[in-house]
Amino acid sequence: MDFTLTSDQAALTGAIDRMATQFESIPTEFDGFVLEGRELEQELENGQYFDIAAIPEMGPIAAALAVERLARLPCAVEVALSMLVRPQLDIELPRPFALVEAGRPGRFVASARTLLIVADDSIGIAHPSPDDVEAVESLYAYPMGKVTGALSIRALPAEDAARVRTWLRVACAAEIAGLLQAAIDVTVEHLSVRKQFGRPLGSFQALRHRMAECAVLAGGVRRLALKAAWTGDAGDAALAALHAQESATRVIYDVHQMFGAMGMTLEMSLHLWTYRMKALLSELGGRGAQAAAVAQYCFDNKPARID
């Protein structure tokens, strides 16, 4: 048990952090739902960062750390599936990736070159042509799209589908971990600056305690996501995704309360993280499906002892 990054992992996360720092700012004229990050995506492509999980010295844990860090940025880039799920497939598939569940609109579907089509227990792969997909206006702060054409879908063997589903859960948890942290950071800043009744909002115990509870939840999500990325275990992934969706449900509400009316305006950045989290709440079947997976993988014939 050791929570220190190796020197290689530390160097990589340092590089990603430096890159991310250049994309922290939000253009002053921006007041929309989605801030796309094409320039960041290009830099990640150029630096071959989408392939870090496959490098033995880095592994999926480094990819999960990268996903978490990049999710904290105001711009939305398809990072999580490319970095964490794509390396789990035996064949080289073009990115961006997107998930399509039950024919519903999904994140990045309109720009994806590889679609993961989820239906019940099966997962299939499709490569849409531009005519097969279209962009959808939405409240979610991701570019959303839906499938409109008849796709040629290649079903994954059951074992591969199970593995992909596990890594989809890890990706979901790692992304939510970053979104939670960003939402908390921006709220803490607001509470430290905004004064009412003559003092900063953050000095009122009713708000301090709620924020502290949010921080504890976010820290738990981050730790569970990293552990799941390290073990690749289906049970760990289900626990991480469940805790992520549970915690996000709570934190989204709390941070919007903290921002009051200011958080309802698109001039404020809060929605960039909270409405992205809302898109993730329903993914992979939502909390009900994650709980069923926990029951399947963690409560079936497993002793409650640590090994």
């Binding site: 000095s203 738990g220 390290w230 069923a292």
Partner: protein
């Protein structure tokens, strides 16, 4: 990063489990009801003696005090296994976790020679004389006084909610030697000193757990004081940071959660509602486990205790609450003559957010130190 145990850690855990299998009697789970009961106190003395003989009571202590010089992981693995088993060490876990180490750091040679060897042999039980009727969360407002008297002190006052006081040999007592937070001192006080009266308060935690302790003109020599006059706050802050993650409550909570799920499965009652709640509780337990491991990792690297310890503590409170709520809703028979250890767990779970400092105090610390939010005006 490495989330796996190394060979030495696995082998140590196996050693502890083998010991538990061999030394816990068949009726242990019934005994576990009432952590301060006469039956468990008697058993715990015998059990801790056997643990000491096997070198498993204080492995993380220095060898000069009967330990193995083992790292913080060793003591935490030991604590996990003990707590998961229902804590057969009873109140002696406090000696092992923080009272012994505090005396090693701040005690005089005489105090160390008198008190540490019996702890290392598993022969002695301590209680913690902190809270008072008017000083709970606001501990610094405590009123019990230790006035200079001859060559020593005369102590007058009252403590309350004191665990194990009825069976304890010694009290780790906080008393006021001057005004203000800097006027509190620590006394190591044998419980058979004339002038001490202990009264048990019936409690939902179980038999023999909570007490009132009265001090009427209790005379103690100067040598009973630990550290300097007024040093209590600094010493206790450090000691309680050891205590805060010293009880791996998630280990028993997780075991009881699995047991409750087994009960429901066998009865064909593991329905969608139970699945949802149990999975949520399990995720909270595992998040807490990782928080705690993070703290131990930091301790191994010599980092001072930070606000993450408060976050770990609050994560524990969440996990305990979710497991207790799951059990009471889905396995209600546990509180009415059902499984003895499920009952004992439920009795203790309520303590998670209260003992060793209310959870709300931890939330304040997290807000100020971790989030850096502005402080409340005083």
């Amino acid at each position: 990063m490495d989330f796996d145990w190394d060979e030495e850690q696995r082998s140590f855990r196996a050693e502890v489990r083998t010991f538990l299998d061999a030394n816990l009697p068949d009726n242990w789970e019934e005994l576990a009801h009432g952590p301060g009961s006469a039956a468990q106190t008697t058993f715990s003395k015998q059990f801790c003696g056997a643990l000491a003989e096997a070198g498993l009571l204080v492995p993380h202590w220095p060898s000069e005090w009967g330990g193995r010089d083992a790292d913080p992981w060793t003591s935490f693995i030991l604590a996990e296994e003990m707590w998961a088993a229902g804590e057969p060490r009873g109140g002696q876990y406090m000696n092992v976790n923080w009272i012994g180490p505090t005396l090693m750091r701040f005690g005089t040679q005489e105090q160390q020679a008198r008190y540490i060897p019996p702890m290392a042999r598993g022969e002695t039980l301590w209680c913690q004389g902190f809270s008072e009727p008017e000083a709970g969360s606001d501990l610094a407002s405590l009123r019990t006084r230790a006035d200079r008297h001859g060559d020593g002190y005369r102590i007058n006052g009252q403590k309350i909610w004191t665990s194990y006081a009825g069976a304890a040999d010694t009290c780790f007592l906080l008393a006021r030697t001057a005004q203000g937070k800097g006027g509190i001192s620590i006394f190591l006080l044998p419980m058979d000193t004339p002038g001490i009266t202990v009264r048990q308060i019936p409690s939902i935690i179980g038999e023999g757990d909570i007490h009132e302790v009265f001090f009427d003109d209790v005379e103690v020599p100067e040598g009973a004081r630990l550290g300097e006059e007024g040093q209590a706050w600094d010493i206790v802050r450090l000691s309680l940071s050891l205590e805060r993650v010293g009880i791996p409550r998630f280990a028993l909570a997780s075991r009881m959660l699995h047991r409750a799920v087994d009960v429901l499965k066998k009865a064909g009652r593991f329905d969608a509602g139970a699945i949802q709640q149990s999975a949520k509780a399990h995720a909270a337990c595992e998040a807490t486990r990782l928080y705690s491991y993070n703290i131990i990792d930091q301790r191994c690297q010599g980092q001072p205790p930070g606000p993450e310890a408060s976050a770990a503590r609050f994560a524990t409170v969440n996990a305990e609450r979710l497991v207790a709520e799951f059990v009471v809703e889905h396995v209600p028979e546990a509180l009415a003559g059902g499984d003895a250890l499920l009952l004992a767990h439920h009795q203790r779970a309520i303590v998670a957010g209260i003992a060793s400092g209310a959870a709300e105090i931890q939330l304040n610390l997290i807000a100020t130190e971790l989030l850096q939010l502005p402080r409340e005006p005083r």
